[in-house]
């Protein structure tokens, strides 16, 4: 899933100073799961804004919405019509950055502002804790590393083993919070009886499949041709 964190309240409020009718839109997918941008967070942010602007002596209309997924056109269409019909003059989305872009591409003259900072593709480790697992490099190489990703989970994206800063299983960048992924890979390959694999030199990665190759898109021929 995509993980995101709420932006500081004051930053979001700052975006909205000059607007009157504001719609806050949440997303029922990833940002609901990571407790940053679902229905509950929409309600919280909206009432916070009402109180904060009220204190400033400004009466703004703050409206709320939450769709199943902000990254799919069918779910986003109702938001677009609502913006038109209800004369909304600014939208705040608390979906991930995909939602922000997807709305901005479709919202004509109405400005859209991000309410979250989108951080990474990760997994829920335990209640309240998410950790980065994949960087979407476009050429998954985890078959070589026991299923554990050095691209996303090594602070230096090293492909040939741990740097000199790996100590007691921790990464030098933040030993209190980051595991050295190469220790994890080492331990895992050892359990799999594949330690010999570590002797192979992994060639420099071809980054064309990652964002370095330009903006990416994916086509499923069988569906796309039907149009």
């Amino acid at each position: 899933m995509i993980v995101a964190d709420p932006k500081p309240f004051g930053q979001v409020k700052g975006y909205l100073e000059n607007f009157e009718r504001i719609l806050i839109v949440g997303c029922g997918a990833c940002t609901t799961v990571c407790l940053a941008g679902g229905e509950a967070e929409v309600r919280l942010l909206a009432s916070g804004m009402r109180i904060a602007f009220g204190r400033d002596g400004q009466s703004k209309t703050i409206l709320e919405d939450c769709v199943q997924r902000q990254c799919d056109v069918e779910f986003v269409l109702p938001v677009l019509s609502r913006v038109d019909n209800e004369k909304i003059d600014a939208v705040v989305t608390i979906a991930c950055g995909v939602g922000v872009n997807f709305l901005a591409d479709r919202l004509g003259k109405t400005p859209v502002f991000p309410g979250l900072n989108t951080t990474f593709y990760g997994a829920g480790m335990e209640p309240g804790l998410w950790a980065e697992m994949c960087a979407g490099c476009g050429e998954c190489m985890t078959a070589l590393t026991g299923g554990i990703c050095p691209v996303a989970r090594c602070s230096k994206h090293l492909l040939n083993g741990p740097c000199g800063g790996s100590e007691k299983g921790k990464c030098e960048v933040d030993p209190a919070n980051i595991d050295c992924v190469w220790q994890l890979i080492y331990d895992r390959l050892k359990r799999l009886g594949r330690l010999d694999d570590l002797q192979n030199i992994i060639a420099p990665k071809d980054w064309r499949t990652a964002a370095d190759g330009g903006v990416r898109r994916t086509i499923r021929e069988h569906l796309y041709k039907l149009r």
Partner: protein, 311 residues
């Protein structure tokens, strides 16, 4: 190293090592700016004391004069540099271009490193590159040197000769992987190795034994890294704050046991003993003395260690 009669770079360091001498290198950190005079002073301090001196590449991710430029100034001054290059700040395009430039300016030794993460430096907000890791960089330079092609396979116009080094840290984890990694670096092209600074002699001996058992000492020259401790404070700091370095209590206590004014002396005494110890270890082909911002003591250290005059 298989064929000692063919010099890969013609560098002084290569000559010293291939002719069987115990090599001595040190470090010469470029200034945090364009202060050439300061660099010249450091160069004079080490002249004649070492076979080559490492020019660090924005060490600990603190911005300094580039190792290529500082290395070229050393070449001009007649003291041989080992140009360090980290992959943190340059992708494979910049790295290869810089290597051609360094060679054109007379640099004949280089040390391929991944580099400290920028979080430790003075620009922790910077974007890092790490397009290559140190092992891949070794292979890229070796390919340019031996096959005459850049990473994509295109031929180079005018080849390079370069004596290729890499670092090894016997004190990081997982310990058993450290020798495998050393072997990978050698297979990727390392002609010589400089180790992380050694304080835990027992662990270093164990590391060297594993390396020799795999025959690695016959495939490249291993220089033992040593850093003199200036004070008990520095010893405790390095032990606590530098990942991958552990200073045994025994050493910390020994320095702590002498009055403040004499601690630097004691640090140098310890270093000289360590030099004696590593010389006895099978497979050690030289020492790399990293006297951090202490170039003024290099002459005394090498003199007292019996390293002068250099071959």
């Amino acid at each position: 190293m298989s064929d000692k009669s063919v010099m890969k770079s013609g560098s002084n360091l290569e000559r010293v090592l291939t002719s069987g001498h115990f090599a001595v290198t040190c470090e010469c950190g470029p200034p945090k700016g364009a202060d050439v005079e300061h660099l010249q002073k450091k160069i004079e301090l080490i002249r004649g004391c070492v076979d080559a001196a490492n020019v660090t590449d924005n060490q600990t991710a603190v911005v300094r004069m580039s190792s290529i430029a500082a290395g070229a100034i050393m070449v001009r001054s007649g003291v041989e540099p080992v140009m360090q290059m980290v992959t943190r700040d340059r992708n494979r395009i910049a790295a290869q271009s810089d290597i051609f430039g360094a060679y054109a300016l007379g640099i004949r030794n280089m040390l391929c490193l991944t580099g400290d993460h920028q979080i430790f430096g003075n620009h922790p907000m910077a974007k890092n590159v790490f397009d290559l890791d140190s092992i891949q960089l070794l292979d890229v330079v070796r390919t340019i040197r031996d096959k005459g092609t850049v990473n994509c396979g295109d031929p180079v116009e005018g080849g390079i000769r370069m004596f290729l080094g890499a670092a090894a840290n016997p004190f990081a984890d997982p310990f058993e992987f450290r020798v495998i990694r050393l072997a990978k670096k050698i297979r990727a092209g390392a002609d010589f190795i400089q180790t992380q600074c050694i304080y835990d002699m027992g662990r270093f001996r164990e590391f060297m034994k594993m390396a020799c058992d795999m025959g690695l000492d016959g495939q490249c020259y291993i220089l033992a890294g040593l850093t003199p401790l200036k004070s008990a404070g520095m010893a405790a700091y390095m032990n606590k704050n530098v990942s991958g370095i552990s200073v045994p209590d025994e050493i910390i206590n020994r320095i702590r046991g002498v009055p403040k004014g004499n601690q630097a002396e004691e640090g140098i005494n310890i270093l000289l003993e360590q030099i004696g110890q590593v010389r006895e270890i099978r497979g050690v082909a030289g020492v790399h003395i990293m006297a951090i911002e202490w170039e003024e003591r290099i002459r005394e250290i090498t003199e007292r260690a019996g390293f002068l005059p250099r071959p």
